[in-house]
Structures are given as C-alpha cells and as structure tokens.
C-alpha cells in the first residue's frame, strides 16, 4: 500500500529559519543546528528533531550555523557582526570573534581546529581556534558580500559563494583563487560533498552539480520554481531542493527526473540538508519551522513507524499518533 509522507514539524523558532547543518554520526547519534532570524540558534537531536538546547548570546539575526563532526562544538554567524563558537554539549559560549560587518557563514575544518568565516565585508577569514587572540588569516577578492564559505578538498582549499555572482575556489596556503565560476543569477546555496568531491550549487531555478577540484560542470537540473537550497543524498541516488513555492522536490540524481514533491511549509524554503546517514532530510523555512522528511517513506526510523494496515485498526494503535482522518473546521 502506498504511504503518504508525514513530515515532522520542529517548532520553537519565532522567525524564519535561514540555515541548518547536521553533525557527523557520533556515539550519541547525530545532531542538527538551526540558524534563525530570532537570534537564538537551536541544537536538536538529528533523527527525532527533539530540542536539546538553545545557544543564547547573539544580539541579532543568526545567518549561519554549523556543527563540527563530533557535535562537540558549534559555530554561528550573526548580524551582530560576530561569529561565535559554542560548546555544543553544555551550550556555553566559548569564543566571540568580532567582525566588521554582518557574518553570514561559518565552517569548521575536519579536525575542528580552524574556523572559516565569511560575510558582508567580503573577506574570508580563517581563525586558529587554539590561538583565538591571534589575528585571522584573511583572503580578499570577492567584490560583494559572501553568502557561504566552505572548506573542501581535505581542508586545503576553500569554496566561497558571493553576491557578486561568482563562486571561487581558493588555495588556503597561497590565498589565491584557483578557479572561478560566474553565473547570471545570484547563487542561493552551496553544499560540498567530500565523498565524491561534488559541489551542489543553486541559482535561479537551477540546481547545478560541479566537480569540487576543477569546478567543471557535471550536470544541471531545472526546477519548476526558484530554488533556495538543495542537498545531495550521501549515496548520490537522489537530491532534494526547495525554494519560493514552499514545496520540497525530490529528484533522481542519475536520470534528473522529478520523483516527488511535498507540500507542507507555509513559507519559502531557505535551507534543506540530508542527514549524514541519508535516512531523512531537514528543511528550514520562512514560516519559522524545521521539518524532517523521510527519504524512504513508510520506513521505521526515528519517530516514524512502519505500520501494517491490520495494526492501524487494532487496539495496539493507541501508542501511535495517526494524523486524524477528519478536517477541522
């Protein structure tokens, strides 16, 4: 019997959710951090969406948030001109890094020793977290605000996307741009897949896939509406995308065919990411919510329970929350 996707809504934020990131898989599961314009980024258990804690301290909208692989550290980028590093176990603020303008993006290296930041002052900065008082290494070149900055290629290179409609690949040591990609429209999101060396870039209605070393184009797919964010499944069999029309689209990566589309959000989708095990993907929207969606609809995972038709009508179904079969007035 065909199953209908039941997204899990994570409430708590009071303003649009603009960024989200998963940690790696840790002995305690995996975690999710959400950046919100209400200035209060939240940490959640990745497979259930259960709230764990809120990082309090920023005095402005938080535009970017990230976790390190082990989910022991978090970093956030905010409109209060600072990036902050947090202890993701205690929720305590560990470091505040002052910038000269709104910070939009933060990213840890694999060993969590360096933090990359980028924002409206157009400069990429690399902070050595073991020497936080030291001046960061700065890489200039972009001619407008940086939207996203990511470590790639074994943390030896940096990918940055800016409002100047370019994506640049920098060498960390020479600080020079090794490759540049130019677009006609503003790049709305960027994701780096280390295993496979793929960069996922969205602009206009297009989702583009590029080689992370050469920035050669692999393929592009066009969606029915303007796309703000896309994410490729770890096994690279599908990717999901969301944007202006509030819907989440799921595509087959190999054939480029649209497989499914899901309605649910009440506002444009700003960010979407697959979990590290690929079993679910999370979307953040203008409506202030995060929603978790199953990759394999109907499978028992996290809070979702695979229920056979006989069980639904039996007495055992008390423990299950079944979406009610009626329309409220």
């Amino acid at each position: 019997m065909a199953m209908r996707q039941t997204p899990l809504t994570c409430s708590g934020h009071t303003r649009p959710v603009v960024d989200l990131a998963f940690s790696g898989i840790t002995p305690y599961g995996y975690f999710l951090i959400s950046a919100c314009k209400d200035g209060k980024p939240m940490l959640r258990q990745g497979d259930t969406g259960d709230w764990i804690g809120t990082f309090l301290g920023h005095k402005g909208a938080v535009w970017g948030a990230t976790l390190n692989k082990e989910a022991t550290k978090a970093a956030t980028a905010a409109a209060d001109f600072t990036a902050k590093v947090w202890d993701a176990v205690t929720g305590d603020e560990v470091l505040t890094l002052a910038h000269k303008h709104i910070v939009k993006s933060v990213n840890f290296t694999q060993d969590s020793n360096y933090l990359l930041t980028g924002g409206n002052d157009k400069v990429l900065r690399i902070y050595d977290l073991s020497k936080p008082e030291a001046d960061p290494q700065e890489i200039a070149g972009h001619t407008s605000a940086i939207k996203k900055a990511l470590w790639c290629n074994n943390d030896q290179q940096i990918l940055s996307a800016a409002d100047d409609k370019t994506i640049r690949l920098w060498d960390k040591n020479t600080q020079e741009a090794v490759h540049t990609l130019s677009f006609d429209a503003s790049v709305t999101s960027m994701e780096y897949i280390p295993d496979g060396e793929i960069v996922v870039i969205t602009y206009g209605r297009t989702i583009g896939f590029y080689n992370a070393h050469s920035l050669d184009l692999i393929k592009t797919v066009d969606a029915p509406a303007s796309i703000h964010s896309a994410s490729l499944h770890p096994e690279k069999d599908f990717f999901v995308a969301g944007g202006d029309d509030f819907k989440l689209y799921k595509y087959d990566y190999t054939t480029k065919e649209e497989m499914e589309s899901y309605k649910g959000h009440f506002g444009p989708i700003h960010t979407v990411r697959f979990s590290p095990d690929g079993e679910l993907y999370a979307s953040g929207s203008e409506d202030g919510t995060l929603r978790l969606w199953q990759t394999a609809v109907g499978k028992t995972y996290g809070l979702w329970k695979c229920v056979l038709p006989e069980e639904l009508s039996s007495e055992n179904s008390e423990v299950l929350y079944c979406p009610p079969a009626e329309i409220k007035a």
Partner: protein, 147 residues
C-alpha cells in the same frame, strides 16, 4: 463516497486532497518532536552525552562546589587581614573619614565583635576633645594610620 484525509501538512492541503481523493495512508509517528522548554536553555546536564563528555565538571553541583571553595578561601584571607589590621591599629592615632565630610582623629582602642562600634580615646572634634567615645562603624567610610 468521498474519502477525506487530513494530514499533518495542514489546512492549505485540504482543497488539494479533496480533489485528489487519494487512498494513500499517511505514515504513522510515535509522537511529535519535543519542543523547547520555556524555562531553560536546555543542554540537560543529566543527559548521557553531557555526563560522558564533561568529566571536568563532573556534575553541575560539584562544579559550583569547586568555585565555592575558592571563594571561601579568599573570604577567609580577607577576614584575617582585616582582623590583623584592627590589631595593629590598637593604641595608635587613627584618622577616620566619615560621612558628611567629617574627618576626626582619635586613639583607637578596640572594636566590638560585630564591628558595629569602635571604642576610641581622645577624639578630636570641632567641639573639643572627647576623652572617651564610641564611633558608629556604619558612619565610617575609611580610616588611616601610620604603622
């Protein structure tokens, strides 16, 4: 017969579903994700992850215990210095700065146990020298003397 299903996707979908007349069953969930606690910022110190990854703090109560010990040590140090100062002041000419711009000199005798009054002799006042007097400590801002 029209089969109407309301899913978690909300009212906006109601019209769509009416048109679709879909027979798909929505996936069941055990419960909804837990939301934030309105009274705290979270990061439960009793969670297995916290306990395992924060060995230096042990538990939250003993971490404040360590801070308290340090504070107590500092407090005792300060108290000891104060008491020794009072001892040194005995029988010396001391100048007392008091409220309302009052500055008087006297020979310090002793303090009471709660440091509410200082017993002094030969208190020099604008009205003359008072052979014996008690100075109210809460009126004293500071006092100085030569060792």
């Amino acid at each position: 017969m029209t089969f109407i299903l309301k899913t978690q996707t909300g009212y906006a979908d109601a019209a769509l579903i009416l048109n679709e007349i879909s027979m798909k069953t929505p996936v069941s969930v055990l419960r909804l994700p837990r939301g934030p606690d309105p009274n705290s910022r979270g990061f439960d110190p009793n969670s297995p992850r916290f306990i395992a990854l924060c060995p230096t703090t042990l538990s939250s109560s003993s971490s404040s215990g360590a801070v308290d010990e340090e504070e107590q040590r500092l407090r005792s140090d300060l108290r000891e210095r104060f008491l020794r100062t009072l001892l040194l002041m005995t029988d010396k000419q001391v100048e007392f700065n008091m409220h309302e711009k009052v500055r008087v000199r006297a020979r310090f005798g002793a303090s009471d146990i709660d440091v509410l009054n200082f017993q002094v002799s030969g208190l020099e006042t604008p009205l003359g020298v008072q052979k014996e007097a008690l100075l109210r400590c809460q009126d004293v801002i500071s006092c100085s003397f030569e060792l």
